[in-house]
Amino acid sequence: MYAVIDVHHLRKEYDKIVAVDDLSFVVPGGAVLGLLGGNGAGKTTTISMLLGLLVPTSGQIRILGEDMLRHRFRVLPRMNLSSPYVDLPHRLTARQNLVVYGRLYGVRDLARRIDELAAQLDLAEHLDRPFGHLSSGQKTRVTLAKALVNTPAVLLLDEPTASLDPDTADWVRTLLKDYQRQTGATILLASHNMPEVERLCDDVILMQTGKVFDRGSPDELIARFGRDSMEEVFLDMARGRARNIEELRKVETVR
């Protein structure tokens, strides 16, 4: 199958700290890959490198067939990002933010696209309020609308449902799943939310201290770890309980 995201031996060092170490993975078109790991595992660093916000120390990244280190501007119009670690201008209204980003991404018939997104994300009554006056859940939805404004073929989501109540979070997951089905978009999702990962991801990379700890579908990982849920799998990895399992079952660390 066509590799939309193709990462080879990616490494990022800051002085003597290795944030990402020899990371390789391929995401086929239309798949949803989850990056799972504790704080400092290297998930956000990986997403930043995929977007060209951060230059890797070594390794290669190809997205939609283009070398991101040399030709990222050929691909960036077809990508987008949602992250709680990057903000939108607080003094601009939600609509103004969407207009600015819609224009940056060259979206045609932008007014219609914004209305469409506002309806899908239940933002219609908040569109003309300053972004800084919105609740954190509303801000997350506006950020998500910005991430979808150009109908991206590659969507990078860093904790997309952070700050959302369970009902809204579930509704956003349904929206993302529908978006992926309708457009065939490839999604890379970094999350701490295990039900989210189980529901959305076809494939999951478990990351620890910048390295791939294990990889597989949620069902495969749950079975391999001998657990009942991804949350238990995550806790096994985070608390070092998986070391014996790793030895006994010869877990692949890199595929």
Binding site: Y14, L54, D87, R91, V100
Partner: protein, 272 residues
């Protein structure tokens, strides 16, 4: 999804998008608009009265009443050029928006073009009312300089943009701790710019520095027009050429520091 949402961007649409982002902020607050004209207006009043006083004491100022006022107004064109650009850049830092901007198809040169355009808009919005007030209060019009005024204006703006771009790169690289430079850096050039006195009053070594910078050519040219009604094209050409060079150097500095910031992962982490 509608097919309408397919991307069709161009450099111009991206530059105008960035200008629109800052225009929304500017037009949304009358205080911000007033702030643009506040300091130029205060200085204009002060230099206007000083000029009136000096014109009764010295024949030099009496002959060319507007020489100090014009100096002040043109110096502010330089300051507003640099500051207007730096403020647009700082707005992105304060709002922690750089990660979204540079994850979009916006290229660094388009970003620079956008904040340069905003600087021009801020300068015009701030300075034009002050030049009109100068006519009202002191009966002096800087527009009496004629078309060289346009050349002086753009030369000083370009130099301000060059300085502003270099400072923006430094703030991006060093973080908000370097913000003070954005507000104060350009004033170090004031003593060697010849705004209120001729360059030849400076010590020789300072004259060498002064003639390496565009403002010296602009203000000497301005004095020639006022005091001797003489247009000196060689000064205009020197100012223009140097401003283009400094603008290019400023952009190269910005690009260099931007790339260092990309290597160090500062684009998505810098902010207040």
């Amino acid at each position: 999804m509608t097919p309408a949402a397919i991307a069709h961007g161009s450099p111009l649409t991206r530059v105008t998008a960035l200008v629109l982002r800052h225009w929304y902020i500017l037009r949304g607050s009358w205080l911000r608009i007033v702030e643009l004209a506040y300091w130029p207006a205060v200085q204009m009043v002060m230099w206007g009265f000083l000029s009136e006083f000096l014109s009764k004491q010295t024949s030099y100022v009496a002959q060319a009443f507007g020489i100090l006022l014009s100096g002040m107004l043109l110096w502010d064109v330089l300051v507003r050029g640099q500051l207007g650009l730096s403020i647009s850049f700082l707005e992105e830092m304060w709002s922690r928006n750089l990660g979204h901007l540079f994850a979009s198809p916006l290229r660094p040169i388009e970003f620079a073009a956008g904040i340069v355009t905003m600087s021009l808009i801020r300068t015009v919005v701030g300075m034009v009312p002050v030049t009109i007030l100068t006519v009202v209060f002191f009966g002096f019009s800087i527009y009496s300089l004629g078309w060289p005024l346009l050349a002086f204006f753009f030369t000083l703006q370009m130099f301000g943009w060059g300085v502003g771009l270099a400072i923006s790169g430094m703030v991006l690289r060093k973080g908000m701790g370097a913000e003070t430079f954005a507000w104060a850096a350009v004033f170090i050039l004031l003593p060697v710019s010849g705004v209120y006195y001729p360059i030849d009053v400076l010590p020789y070594w300072l004259q060498l520095i002064a003639w390496a910078l565009p403002p010296a050519y602009v203000f000497e040219g301005m004095r020639a027009v006022f005091a001797r009604e003489l247009l000196r094209p060689e000064l205009l050409a020197g100012a223009l050429a140097l401003s283009v060079v400094y603008l290019a150097i400023g952009f190269c500095c910005f690009l260099w520091l931007f790339n260092i910031s990309r290597r160090k992962g500062l684009l998505s982490t810098q902010g207040e």
